[in-house]
Symmetry: C2
Subunit: 463 residues, 2 copies
């Protein structure tokens, strides 16, 4: 099953049925997505009325294309889709992205009937279909942007794959990713899931070597049980993160008219997620923050956290969040505590959190402290907080070689915060080297490490 989706996400040839130079049509934006940051395979615009679109020679229909077609992106009006599907079957197309809307999500029952007919046809020919009623799909590893949003290509290439039931939320999370340097592998808009749903995507992404974390935004699905079974079968091989909306009482009505599915009870889903070892989230930023930590950091080997901070306040705040999330602060070994006590003056916070403020001018001492805490077997992961002040300008540079060379299999989650332009390069260097995962606030950093710790616990448990 999983391999059946390869031609969808790694096609050698893409045909765009409904390609056009008319900017008021979605077929224009799809062509822009595939040409601005150009798709590296064969691109065939299908348009019976034009010899070329965006300077590329067209075919008048799929039937008139000479070579193989791996992926057909379909963006013609709903009433023309059935005919296009028949051509796809005839041409042995290996995958379809059906962007067109107007099926199961509309009031008119003919929409649902048409979708059923398309599903029967695609299933009989074993063609996987993303959509209908979707923005499309993106695979950053092969420069495939088969969506109506060229700007998805601004997302940096990474190992987080995003599967969304809502186009709006997929756009939101992609823009947040661009702004926060969160790197994505695939962006998938499931739409009305004609014959592919979350379970199929888990199946595929678990095997996908480019994906290390799976992030799902969900409104409602017909078959939550399939998701549970698929995720269980995957046996905790990769972290699966889910954000289920639709807790509001208005949402069932809203969801029905949106993607044709009922939103369903939040509690029911939360129970299912627990059974399936899926981690549950309630906001775009919290799920992306956690995904970033998973993609950048090792899983802690114990669920205990050390808080090292260059100012006391952020350390207290970080400790607050860890405790609220049920994560224990580490009790340092006698050896580590002794070393800290030697390095810090008596007036400091010297247990955990540790206030490194008094020695911030001394990067050697700071490094020794981080190093001894890092090596302490009682410590599963480290929260490191540094708020810029004019007098500690050199601090991050002073400790970055240590952080980069540590090679300890422990997560280092940071909030290194500074005005724009200050420390951006240093933070980027640390993140590029895989040394840290940095967050906008100590609270968000502490929530991210708490998720890593919870995943450690989940890996230890039997089911």
């Amino acid at each position: 099953m999983a391999y059946r989706l390869n031609p969808l996400f790694e096609p050698k040839s893409v045909a765009v049925v409904g390609a056009t130079d008319d900017a008021s049509k979605l077929g224009f934006h799809v062509m822009k997505s595939l040409t601005i940051h150009p798709f590296r395979g064969t691109l065939i615009p299908i348009n019976p009325n034009r010899a070329e679109v965006m300077g590329i020679s067209t075919a008048s229909s799929l039937t008139h294309v000479s070579g193989e077609i791996d992926l057909a992106v379909v963006v013609v009006p709903a009433q023309s889709v059935l005919e296009v599907f028949r051509e796809c079957v005839a041409r042995k197309v290996k995958g379809i992205v059906l962007i067109t809307a107007g099926f199961k999500e509309i009031d008119d029952p003919s929409g649902g009937a048409l979708q059923d007919e398309l599903a029967a046809l695609a299933n009989s020919a074993n063609i996987p279909v993303i959509g209908p009623n979707t923005f499309g799909i993106v695979n950053r590893h092969v420069d495939l942007n088969a969506s109506f949003t060229p700007e998805f290509s601004l997302v940096e290439e990474g190992s987080i794959s995003l599967v969304s039931q809502s186009g709006g939320i997929a756009h939101l999370m992609s823009f947040l990713s661009i702004r926060s340097d969160i790197k994505l592998s695939k962006i998938v808009g499931l739409g009305n899931h004609l014959n592919l749903d979350f379970a199929d995507m888990i199946d595929y992404l678990i095997e996908d070597p480019y994906t290390s974390v799976i992030v799902m935004y969900m409104e409602g699905v017909e078959t939550p049980r399939r998701i549970v079974q698929t995720a269980q079968k995957c046996g905790k091989r990769k972290p699966i993160l889910a954000w289920k909306s639709g807790s509001a009482s208005v949402s069932n009505i809203a969801s029905k008219s949106h993607t044709g599915s009922l939103a369903g009870s939040k509690e029911l889903y939360e129970g299912a997620f627990r059974q399936a070892n899926i981690l549950s989230f309630d906001s775009s930023e919290s799920i992306l923050d956690a995904a970033k930590a998973f993609s950048a950091c090792p899983i802690p080997r114990s669920s205990t956290v050390a808080v090292l901070t260059s100012q006391a306040g952020p350390g207290m705040v970080g400790a607050d969040v860890c405790e609220a999330e049920g994560i224990r602060l580490a009790q340092f070994s006698a050896k580590t505590q002794r070393r800290i006590d030697e390095l810090l003056p008596p007036m400091s916070m010297r247990n955990n959190p540790v206030d490194m403020g008094p020695i911030w001018y001394n990067s050697q001492a700071t490094k020794e402290m981080i190093d001894s805490v890092m090596k302490d077997e009682n410590v599963g992961g480290i929260l490191l907080f540094i708020m810029f002040a004019s007098a500690n300008r050199e601090l991050v540079k002073g400790i970055s070689d240590l952080l980069i060379d540590l090679h300890q299999p422990k997560p280092v989650i940071t909030c290194i915060s500074a005005p724009p332009g200050t420390w951006d390069a240093e933070i980027n260097e640390l993140e590029m080297a895989g040394a840290v995962s940095n967050y906008a606030s100590p609270e968000r950093a502490a929530r991210a490490i708490s998720v890593l710790c919870k995943y450690h616990v989940l890996l230890q448990t039997d089911h």
Copy 2:
């Protein structure tokens, strides 16, 4: 009392005791703060060993300054501070910012004793003192940056005043403000509060015409009752927002060694805040988000929200958050609902949330919809969500004149989200015109409008 603090925050002359050209000393950074974005009054560096500091003529001590001194910023070692205070009294200095650390927060009891002696001296002469153990104060309205962080001057001038017991958290929140275009009036580091604490700051800022919202970060105070009484006395004239850290069991120990105060029970503080009509928060981003909404938007006249969205998903998410926060979605009047039903095709979400997606190419229809919802008496405030897509590129421009000209006394809280560089100018124009307050995600926007609604309820209640 309140007016006594005017010379602190709006001094005509500032003396820096401990000014130096030596970049390893805090006295250097304080001078940088006062000169890079130059203080517009008289600046007198005090240094007995140098004729000038940063090109400005020094005096050898406060005693040798000829004119009046409104504010003395003191940044000499702890053992020299008593002598400086005696000079301040002799010179009738009107306010002191005592940056030096090493008083009540240290283990050695001599630190507390020295602080008590300084307090007695300052109180006898009726001199208000910020600190000790503080980064200082900033007042953006008079270009006063009396702190050791020149970068505070990058904060844009606005009406949110920030009072923090932690230097680290004040820096964090200022950097977050710079990055999110949140505009501040004053930034105050209370430190060990020699003779000024949160109650005094509330007293002052309630009267301050440049402050419309008071934001406090608190770890622990000796006299929570004074805060309650002061806030009650202020009679809901301005929103007062507080974030109290120290819920973690480690925090009492941490706080004691940090600012010399016990953190105290979170529950106790929450109860006190309720009595005092102080709104309570638990993170830097949530308290800043709310402060931004208060500074930019009118308070809703009913606590009901309309959700208008250009994509269904964000609307559902916004509805989720409102319901979780206990805020009701508005039921539109028959007239409004009729207008929406005329404008939208039957297949859409047409109640509340309203999915404006089907008409996003039609800015006239979109405007009519926003306008009719805005005028609906059942609607207290509006959440407006627009996620960029290539095909709706003109949407924000198309509705911005309506939003700017509305002049309805209702808050419009938005999440208009796009890749960096896209719509930045449009969003900025809307915010500068006071038409909307924009947030990074629908969840954060929904939490912000929920706080406005809760404040409306608070204004309606009797105590």
